[in-house]
Amino acid sequence: MSKLFSEKTKQVFLGPLSKNNPITVQVLGICSALAVTSKLEPALVMGISVTIIVAFSNVIISLLRNTIPNRIRIIVQLVVVAALVTVVSEILKAYAYDVSVQLSVYIGLIITNCILMGRLEAFAMSNKPWESFVDGLGNGFGYAWILVAVAFFRELLGSGSLLGFKVIPHAFYQAGYVNNGLMILPPMALILVACIIWVHRSRNKELQEK
């Protein structure tokens, strides 16, 4: 056990959740982060999908890392990612059809998500499978919690609901409360991500540029 959760592995997992977060610090993969966050449900599904895909493609690439011919390594990484994405997308079509319609092209676009290629090339190619798996989980969760946080505020303030359930009482609307339509539109996702980065940086002074 102690070997499985060594200090380094812990760092590999916890880093991407905060000080090395793929979205707020490395600013990777924000395209999809902006696109699927107007509702909580697709954001959750997207977060889980990316976490699964990044973790398993990390493991596969890490297992193969010593056999992969150097000249075609990017192609090999892409094939592994594309195969996993296709499998996830087929499973969604079979068991969560509405969500897959909502996410439409974005599931397919996970293939081009910068986080995946970044982790495969930077971590999995030079680390053991277990660490790579943990690194994938860490980065996936790091990506997912930002998505969920943004989607939480966008759905709550934009539609007055969470996961499709109305949470703002009817009395509020009668008293003149109105849903903020701007929250549903893409620019608000950018502004919310910026707010998270702002809070994040003011709490972690070492992230600020001199």
Binding site: P69, R71, V79, A83, V87, K93, Y97, V101
Partner: protein, 239 residues
């Protein structure tokens, strides 16, 4: 082993591609049945939407069985070819539209909403960027529109894509498709703000003119196939 030689690289790539292809083929064939069931359920929801039925949190398959009382397939002379269960549902309308006039098998769904008979017809067409489709429900007189549903693959969000929302779909309600002499007239989609004031015109979408016109063309082309059926009265004779 030299992992950088040409031979190794080629063999590696070949083996990898074959394994991945095999894996994807297996996944696809295992999940096919569930996916088809989902697509069929989605089609049922679309048909029910044209009847203005609220599907929120309800079992669409059960509602479909409740409201759609009969399905039939007719030819362009309005002669009934088939009335078995799901005979209309199974038809790929897009393929039928491409056939010769006398070979076309046209689906008609007959619904019973609060004791009133409604006829539902499939619509298929091309929008600005990709296919558009929908269903249109007519009242018992086979002339005035009871409700409609449109959807699209890739129209511009906020502009052409507005056809998929109720404000546009509801403008069609109570409009008519037949002229006074019972000839087929269809619905015209006007440029916005041209004040549609008669029962054959609706407002288009500002900024979505090409999609709006595509909807007009789709309604004209698809409902045009049913001309003989519209002129028939409910008991089979002419109106």
């Amino acid at each position: 082993m030299n992992t950088n030689s040409n031979g190794y690289t080629i063999i590696y790539a070949t083996v990898m591609v074959v394994i991945v292809a095999l894996m994807l083929a297996i996944v696809s064939s295992v999940l096919k049945d569930t996916q088809t069931a989902n697509i069929e359920l989605d089609k049922k929801k679309q048909i029910l939407n044209s009847l203005k039925i609220d599907l929120e949190g309800q079992d669409a398959a059960a509602l479909y069985d409740k409201y759609i009382v009969k399905e039939m397939v007719i030819n362009h002379n309005a002669e009934v070819i088939d009335t078995t269960k799901f005979c209309a549902f199974k038809i790929d309308f897009l393929k039928e539209l491409a056939k010769k006039q006398e070979d076309k098998r046209l689906p008609v769904y007959i619904a019973n909403v609060d004791g009133k008979i409604k006829y539902i017809f499939s619509l298929r067409g091309t929008g600005l960027w990709g296919p558009i489709w929908g269903y249109i429900a007519l009242n018992e007189n086979r002339n005035s529109i009871f409700g409609s549903y449109f959807s699209h693959a890739s129209e511009t969000p906020g502009l052409g894509a507005e056809i998929a929302y109720k404000p546009f779909q509801y403008t069609l309600i109570d409009k008519k498709i037949l002229a006074d002499d019972l000839s087929f007239k269809s619905i015209s989609v006007l440029k916005p703000d041209n004040n549609p004031n008669n029962e054959y015109e609706i407002d288009g979408i500002a900024g979505g003119t090409i999609t709006s016109k595509a909807v007009e063309k789709m309604i004209f082309n698809c409902l045009g196939e049913y001309n003989a059926f519209f002129n028939q009265s409910n008991n089979g004779g002419t109106k």
